[in-house]
């Protein structure tokens, strides 16, 4: 279906990434947000608080991130699309509810504007160091989807995508921004509402007596939704549960349920994995990057190509599920892969795992606080190409 024009600010705007992400959420149909202020993400909810009363939406500033991250889940079960926004320290506090959202298959969106850590770290400066936390931060086995915009335009586009994926798979989806992308201002073109594809919630029409809130449907292995008040008497629990939602703490039910939580994403990974690939065919070196780093890396790639090196680039738009199939295909054909990221070694581990020793992996790490110098990435390309 198309976006509701009420929330769509069609036209060209000069917006920063935080504001663009907010517009993306509104265009995607989000009508509830609960937040707690934290740099450098606060502008997202500031804008939402400004926009909400004029579009029939609700914003509430909660007492902490734990509250914000579960208030949105309550709102989802009340029948709206909802999201929250945070950065490192707040994200750490939200981990519990990432697990709860995954376990209860609650469609929702978290926007994490990454800053330097650990702990309070660099509140106003960038990093890409929550990339493992977003996947593994809550306890237990589960899968999520994480997207990495590299411009304000993508903060808009991918936030819509995030909502769409969340509805499609009933899973929490993460927009993994970074401080640079969040605070940089560029042209953002917002299409007309009828040009924006929005995934509606998949409300069930099944019989009330036999409907099962956690029974998988279709190749997405994703159950249909009902909300409180629909007369289905839903039961939602973070305990291991059967298809009705009833707690059933046996190894057999655990196996069935957790396997499906994982496989609904893994089995559909190729559909979820969005990438941007350039000149990979025939390349000696492929540079893997995401978020703001992909722009800096592109400058290094262009310089390297100008020097005559055969360099391709792979940008991870979807970081999770990790595009394993692409790395597996590239690894045997290249001398090496250069991974540039604003951390001291996170997604590179996934690249190493999937490359399986078939080519050299060079990591260009950075502790955060600013972006790489393109020369740092160039140097790694030159070394690997040698």
């Amino acid at each position: 279906m198309h976006a509701d024009p009420v929330g769509v600010l069609t036209g060209a705007h000069f917006l920063d990434g935080d504001h663009a992400a907010c517009e993306g959420a509104i265009a995607a149909g989000a009508r509830f947000s609960a937040g707690y202020p934290i740099t450098p993400s606060t502008e997202v909810v500031e804008r939402f608080s400004h926009r909400a009363p004029k579009i029939g939406a609700t914003f509430i500033q909660m007492e902490d991130e734990l509250a914000a991250s579960i208030a949105i889940l309550g709102a989802v079960w009340g029948g709206v699309k909802a999201f929250t926004v945070t950065s490192g320290p707040g994200f750490s506090l939200m981990m519990e509810h990432i697990g709860y959202a995954a376990m209860t298959e609650t469609p929702c969106v978290f926007i994490d504007v990454q800053r330097g850590g650990p702990s309070t770290g660099l509140p106003t400066l960038p990093a890409q160091a929550d990339m493992m936390q977003v996947k593994w931060g809550s306890h237990g086995d589960y899968e999520i989807i994480a997207l990495c915009p590299n411009s304000p335009q993508e903060c808009f586009d991918l936030t819509i995508k995030a909502f769409n994926f969340s509805e499609q798979y009933r899973v929490p989806v993460f927009v993994m921004m970074d401080e640079v992308v969040g605070h940089m201002t560029e042209k953002v073109v917002i299409p007309r509402a009828e040009e924006i594809e929005v995934e509606p919630r998949r409300w069930t029409t099944q019989d009330k007596s036999s409907f099962q809130l956690f029974a998988p449907c279709g190749e997405e292995q994703t159950p249909e939704m009902a909300k409180a008040g629909d007369g289905y008497q839903v039961h939602v629990t973070g305990l291991t549960h059967d298809e009705r939602g009833y707690p059933n703490m046996t190894p057999a039910v655990q196996d069935r349920m957790v396997r499906r939580l994982v496989s609904k994403i893994r089995d559909n990974a190729e559909k979820i994995c969005l990438t941007e690939q350039h000149d990979i065919e025939g390349a000696d070196v492929v540079v893997v990057s995401y978020g703001i780093t992909s722009r800096v890396a592109q400058r290094a790639v262009e310089t390297a190509r100008a020097e005559g090196l055969k360099v391709g680039s792979l940008r991870l738009i979807t970081a999770w599920p990790f595009p394993e199939h692409i790395i597996r295909a590239i690894a045997p054909k290249v001398k090496g892969i250069v991974v540039a990221e604003l951390n001291l070694g996170q997604m590179v581990r996934e690249v190493e795992r999937c490359a399986g020793g078939q080519c050299r992996i060079a990591h260009v790490g950075h502790a955060g606080g600013t972006v790489h110098k393109p020369e740092q990435i160039l140097k790694a390309i030159q070394e690997v190409a040698r």
Partner: protein, 293 residues
């Protein structure tokens, strides 16, 4: 066994309609009072003619947290301490829904204490039922925020020495519009109080003092569930309107019960709508419940 009288024409137990009977028997111990509070809850729903399709129940974690799982209503068993913020989101997204938070003293007042005081401050329209068994029961009887002084617990083997919260006093101070306390002995009063609460708008709170014979009473040589019920009968004193600063619980002293607070204050949504309407005029579009497309 000697035959209990079972009339062929016996009408169903009124509680049955509210239960997920396929989940019975429940996990609560013999002599535990949580089930008793559920009886009162269902009678209150009947008495107040609440539309059950427009009522949700939200629980945290713990023994009382299991109530959501046993009630045949839209029910949400959330994370530890976070029933109130979940309920806040649910209520704001679904304004015509009656949202009941049903949880324990540890869940609501320790790990969830911050959420509780803020929801009371904002006067979110939630009906909070706190079954206070004075301990963390699900995890084995450790000291909780409501455990009185001089009580033996799994983590206070020599007795507690940190003062407990006086729950009605705290909740009143934080802004609740309705505050009452009963024990599981006071079934009729409790049911009546709950029915009254369902009709009241704003942040409402009922504390129900309840036995935990397996952990609390046994460890403190206070007998079983029935002994505790007799203790409640003997030691309770009804004082409606009692100043909440005078109703703190002790290990073996008097238990003041009654309706302590019943006052008027606009709830969060009313304040929000009035304010935004005033500030924005025709530009204000009030959220009208579920929209999802």
């Amino acid at each position: 066994m000697s035959s209990p009288i079972v009339s062929i024409t016996a009408p169903a137990n009124p509680v049955e309609d509210f239960l997920r009977t396929d989940r019975m028997p429940h996990i609560w111990c013999p002599g535990c009072g949580i089930g008793t509070t559920v009886n009162c809850f269902t009678r209150a729903l009947l008495e107040s003619n609440t539309d059950l399709n427009k009522l949700s129940i939200v629980s945290g974690i713990g023994c009382t947290g299991r109530v959501a799982g046993y009630t045949n209503l839209d029910s949400f068993h959330t994370t530890h301490g976070r029933a109130i913020p979940f309920a806040t989101g649910l209520k704001l997204a679904s304004p015509d829904m009656t949202v009941v938070v049903y949880s324990g003293d540890g869940d609501l007042f320790a790990i969830g204490g911050n959420h509780l005081i803020h929801a009371a401050r904002r006067n979110i329209d939630l009906k909070v039922i706190c079954v206070n068994n004075l301990t963390y029961a699900m995890t084995g009887g450790q000291t909780g925020p409501a455990t009185p002084l001089d009580v033996i617990t799994a983590t206070a083997p020599y007795g507690t020495y940190d003062p407990a919260f006086n729950l009605p006093y705290l909740v009143e101070a934080a802004g609740a519009v309705f505050v009452a306390r009963w024990t599981t002995f006071h079934v009729k009063q409790l049911a009546r109080s709950m029915a009254e609460m369902f009709k009241k708008k704003g942040f409402c709170f009922i504390e129900v003092v309840s036995p935990c014979p397996t952990l609390y009473q046994r460890r403190n040589k206070m007998g079983d569930g029935l002994d505790t019920m007799k203790f409640y009968k003997e030691m309770s004193k009804t004082k409606h309107g009692a100043p909440t600063n005078e109703v703190g619980l002790t290990k073996s002293g008097e238990i003041i019960v009654g309706k302590f607070v019943d006052r008027e204050r606009p709830d969060f949504a009313t304040m929000m709508n009035a304010h935004l309407q005033h500030e924005l005029g025709d530009q204000y579009i009030q959220a009208e419940g579920p929209v999802c497309g």
